[in-house]
Structure formats: C-alpha cells, structure tokens
C-alpha cells in the first residue's frame, strides 16, 4: 500500500511517500505562489523518486498553509498535528517538538501516543521565523548555510532585540556600516532567533525529550544556541530531512486512515 503526505508551506513544499510504512521517497522544493502547482510539482518529483505515479497512491493527506486548495488529496490536517505525528513516529517517546519554518515557529507538547496536548506559536512578530534569517542573510550578503556556520567563530556577538525583523534590520545595517565583523553579527542574529524561540518554548513549559524540526533545524548556529539557552540536547529526526517532518506526519496519517498497522 502506498500513501503520501504533502506539506505546502509558505516557503517550501514537501512530499513524503510511504510504501508499507517505509519511506520510499522524500522531496523538498521552493513553493510557487499557487499551492496547487507547488503540491503537484513536489508530488511528481517524489513519485519519480520512487518510480511511482499518481494512480499508485492509495491515500494522500495534505497539510500546511495551502492545504485546502490542493485538488488531488483525500484529507487535510493542520501542520501542528502532522508534525506531532511525524516526530513521534521517528522518535518514539518524544515529548516536545520545536518547529521553526519560514513563517512560523511553534512549540508542540505531545502525550505518549503522539497526540498534541498543547501548542504555542509565534503570532506576535515575524522575528521568530525562518524568513527573518533569510532577510538577514541577504542583508549580510551571505548564504543561509554560512549564517549558521559563521556564528561559531564569533567573539562578541551583537545583542539584537528579538522583537522585530524590521527593527533588527536597521540595527544590523548600522553595525555593518560601523565595521562590525560578519561573524559577530551572524551570531547575534542566530542568538536573537534562539532567544525568541526559547521564550515560546519556556512559556509552554520545557520537557526533557525534545526534537527540532523545520528548515531552521538546519542552521547549526540557532540550534546550538537554543540548546544552550534551554539546557537540553535537541534531537534531530533521523532518516529524513527535518524540513519534511510535517509531510511525513501527513503520510503516516494517510497510512492510518487506510487502516494500515500502527
């Protein structure tokens, strides 16, 4: 039995295909402005990766911002539930997920069965999101990858308000223009991000067994600093890209909807 999960986020589209509970294909693409197109494209790529076609898929669950507009799906579930399901499948016993995507940051508390107990999101300000990092990287003229790695070389990280991208941007420009080192600024940006995320996590109540997902999980600087702030080691999901956990969770839900074994 083949099932698929498709996550159309604000910045990227992700698809995961499961064949009898095994991940056979996973694909990540930049999203276009039309979620239906993004979904089709990413699904096609994932299907090609598994040498399958649309008709081979028995059930598809969609999630993410654009989920309701995708035509070929059987059900749509919110990304918070999907992330919970995906992470719990990969790391049994995980109690909390920190997901930092392009437009959102969420902390999700799970019970033993991977059900969501409570969640908190960053609804106040854009500064806790992946987009914040992208804007900043652009400003510094460096790649997203460099933003993560540069910060380990920092000596005196810049102290930035974790409150706002726009405000932070002005500050970054100011310091750039005053000759501050790129690594110190990069570290400051990552730290501001981590502080904001820590605030959301602590607000919800930190757990011991925590995993990090979403695109920003790939930024070592943010993750390292977040670990320091929270005082716990953050688990990275094994086997799949942290960005695809939502899609994976959707695929697992699809599998369950088909009555597949747990």
């Amino acid at each position: 039995m083949n099932v698929a999960g498709c996550d159309v986020g604000s910045l990227t589209a992700k698809a995961v295909i499961l064949a009898d509970r095994k991940i056979v294909s996973c694909s990540i693409q930049r999203a276009t402005s039309r979620p239906e197109d993004s979904a089709r494209n990413v699904m096609e790529e994932a299907l090609a990766g598994a040498s399958l076609s649309f008709k081979d898929i028995n059930y598809t669950v969609a999630t993410g911002y654009g989920r309701e507009r995708i035509p070929f799906i059987n059900d749509a579930v919110s990304e918070i539930s999907c992330h919970g399901r995906g992470a719990q499948w990969l790391i049994p016993g995980v109690q909390m997920i920190i997901d930092i995507g392009g437009q959102d940051c969420k902390a999700i508390k799970l019970d033993r069965d991977g059900r969501v107990v409570k969640f908190a999101t960053n609804d106040k300000c854009a500064a806790g999101t992946g987009r914040f990092l992208e804007v900043m990287a652009k400003l510094l003229g460096i790649s997203l990858d460099d933003l993560g790695t540069l910060s380990s070389k920092a000596r005196a990280p810049l102290d930035l308000a974790a409150a706002c991208t726009i405000w932070a941007q002005t500050e970054v420009i100011h310091h750039l223009n005053n000759g501050m080192g790129l690594e110190d600024i990069a570290a400051g940006i990552n730290q501001a991000m981590a502080k904001r995320v820590a605030m959301i996590v602590n607000g919800l109540g930190l757990e011991r067994n925590v995993c990090i997902t979403g695109g920003v999980a790939k930024n070592e600087g943010v993750v390292a600093y977040l670990e320091k702030l929270l005082g716990v080691k953050l688990k990275r999901p094994p086997k799949v890209d942290p960005q695809a956990i939502g899609a994976l969770g959707a695929a697992i839900l699809a599998h369950e909807r088909m009555g597949g074994p747990q």
Binding site: K124, C125, D159, L160, A161, A162, A163, W167, T170, E171, H174, H175, N178, A192, K195, A198, M199, N202, G203, K228, L229, G231
Partner: protein, 468 residues
Amino acid sequence: MRKEYKEYQFDKMVQSIVHFGSLAKDGTDKECFGMFRYAPHFKEVFGTILGTGEPGVKLMKMVDKYLCDVLNASAQGKKVALCTFNFSPAVLKPLGVVPLVVEPLTTLGVMMWLRGMGEYLNYCCELGFTETSCSAQRGAMGAYLAGLGVKPDFVLCNSVGVCDTNATAFNFAAEYLDLPFYQLNALPLFADKRTIDYQHRDFRGLISFVEEQTGKKLDVGLMREVIHEIKKQDDLINEIQDLMQLKPSPVPGTYNVFMYSVKFIYGGYPEGTEVLESMLKHAKQNAAQGRAGTASGKEVARCFSVYVDHYSAQLRPWAWFDSKDISHVGSMMNGFWPDGAPVAKGELAEGIYKLDATNRDTMLDSLCDQMSRMPMVKQIRGPMDDPHQWLLETRGSIRTFKPDFCTYTGTIGCRNTWGAIKVLARDTEKMGLPTLILFGDAFDQRITSWESMRERIDEFLSIRGILK
C-alpha cells in the same frame, strides 16, 4: 531563563557591584581609575557617576545602603513591599516597611550589565506578560517572579490610572506570587475637591492595608520626622532647579538622575538628603565661577526630555551630551511639585503640595498630596491639554529651563505617552523648539542600540542648527 541566571540572587549581585563602585573613590583617583581596568563593563557607569566627584560617591553609597536595607529587611524583622517607582517611599518609613522598587533596580541592571536585563525581560514574557509591555517593569520584576531575590510581602502600586502596562505588571506579580495588593488610583481630574477627597481616602486605605500586613501601627513621631526631611529635600531640589535655570546651567546633567533616584528610593530619609546637599554645594560652586555643569564648564545647548531619559547603554547618553557641552536641564521625571518649585508658576501654580505637620491627619494629607504629584502620576493622568497635564507642564518646564531642543524617549510599553507624543511634539515645534522623537526603549538596548540613537541625535542637532 538560562541556568546561569538562576544561580544568582539578582539583588545581591547588584548590591555587590554597587558596593564595589561606592568604595572605588576611597582611594586616590589613580587607584580608582586604575581599578576600572579590572571591571571593564562597569567602567563607563562608574566613570560617569564618580566623575561628578563627591555627589556621585555619595549617591553610590546611598544606593548601596538602600540595597542593603532591602537585603537585610527580613533579618531586621521588617516587611518588604514591592513598589512602583513612583510610589513615594516616605510613608513607608513610619510604617516600618522597606520598599523594593522595581524600576530603579531595572535601571541599575541595564546600566551596569553588558547584556542589560534581557534574560529577565524575556522571563516575564515566558510567564505571560506581553512582549510589548513596559521594559522597566519587566526587567527586575523577572528576577522577583523567578524568586531570585528577597521575597516581597505585599505589593503597592501607584500607577493605576496613569500607566496600564505598569499597573498590569504589578497586578500580575501580586496574582502570580499570591501577594496582597494595594493600589493608589489616580483619577483623570487633578485639582477639584472631590478628587482630592477621593485621593485622601484612598491613601488612608493604604495606611490601614499596610498596618494590617505588618501588624504594627503607623508611628506618628516618625511621620513627623519624615515630613521635616521631605521639606529639607524639597528646598534643596528647588534650589538646584533654580540654579538649573541659569545660563549656562551650573548643574551637571547627571544630577537629574541623582535627584529622582533620591526621591524614588530615599525621599524623606536623611540618607537622600546628604546627596542633595552635596549636589547643591557643587552646583553653587560652578555657578559662582560662571561655569556650566559640563566637564568643560561650557554650554553650547540645553536639552529637555519631555518624558524619561535614556538609561540603558551604561549612562553613555549623559556622558555623550556632556562631551558635546550640552546641558541636560531635566525630564518629566523631575517634576515633583513641592511648594516653591520653580516650574509651579502661572497656570501651573496650583499644582504644588504643601507640607503640614500639625497633626496626624494633616500629615497624612500632606504625604498623600505629595504621592499624587509624583512624576507621571500627576502629568499623565488626563487629557494632555487639561490643566496641570502633560502639555502644560512641558510648556512650563520649557519656559522655566529654557532648553534649545526636546527629546522624547519612552519604552515600547508607554502607551500613555506614545499615544500622544506626536501631538505633543507638534505643539513644542510650534513653540519653536525642535523636538526629536526617538524610536528606542529606555530600558532595552536591544530595541535600538545607543550608537544608532546617537547617530539620530547627532544628525538632528546638526540639521536643525542646534550645534553649528
């Protein structure tokens, strides 16, 4: 909050730093400034404060003493009241209570620590404060909510009706720590009789509340002493403010901070009077020599802050103004309104309070009137163009202290003033005073660093032709 932070008592840590600073000048100047090499983060603050000579040293010793009072309160069998900054501590002495004033502690934190109060600020948000609430309260409050300091016994609030975010913070703290709470409520009207009656009754309610908490009665003898001390302090402040009107102003800019520090933590206590005496002495010496209060003795321009000053950034704003030979002739935090206050003229004449030590009742009324004229409580309670309110007082201060320009700083929580500053600035501009609204946060450097603030001020001073 990070683990490291949870390992230290916040107030104890502040006290030990202040204590160290207050001792620095006991040696020679060379020894003192030599010592700063080993305390790079505190160098600027201590340099700026101690650089003012005797008044600065006295201020440091006073703050040290105050912090010791707080730390030792329970050992001495005294109750501790968590207070808003604008809660005049005078009344607490005859009640045998030690005030734990949040805002000055935040200020000390942001002034002295390289990283400011960020961790404590964020901690409050973790507990549920909005991220846009007043940073002055969120600062030290975070430490007390986390239990990293002395444990307050009850909460006293004097910002109800003037600043919601402030009152909310204290209300939240009382609820969260499960402490008894008493609020003094300022009504939008100021001088009418029924409002004054209301305030007098509200104040008596405060006395009974505290008496109930401590199980002790108000000491009338001590109250008389406090009133005499307030009188002494007020006369000194009036004289300093008189001198501030001179051109050049012989009063160093930092004295503004000193003045309200005294009022907020030791108003009505001899510990504060000493500092004021020393300030007056020095200002008089400057005046006699025709010197400005700046380090160079020259004055090229005068600045008035229509609201609070800028505290974060290790007192660098004051040092910077000083280096530019700009006199800082006050902020709204200096409007205390004692009888004889130089600002209280014309349309503002009735804004003052009188001290009457005849009997218990007259004394309570006096203390109450003083309380309801604390900075902010008086000016921000009603529509800005109402009698005695923000616009009129700003106008009065401008007339009195003759600044060449005005600046505005608040916090991102000051909705009471952010809601009207653009309107106010239009009026001050109309009076011919260039007015600069700074988009920063007085207690949170991370919002806008001092360096970028300074650039804006610098640009303003040159473009608007204030510094040629």
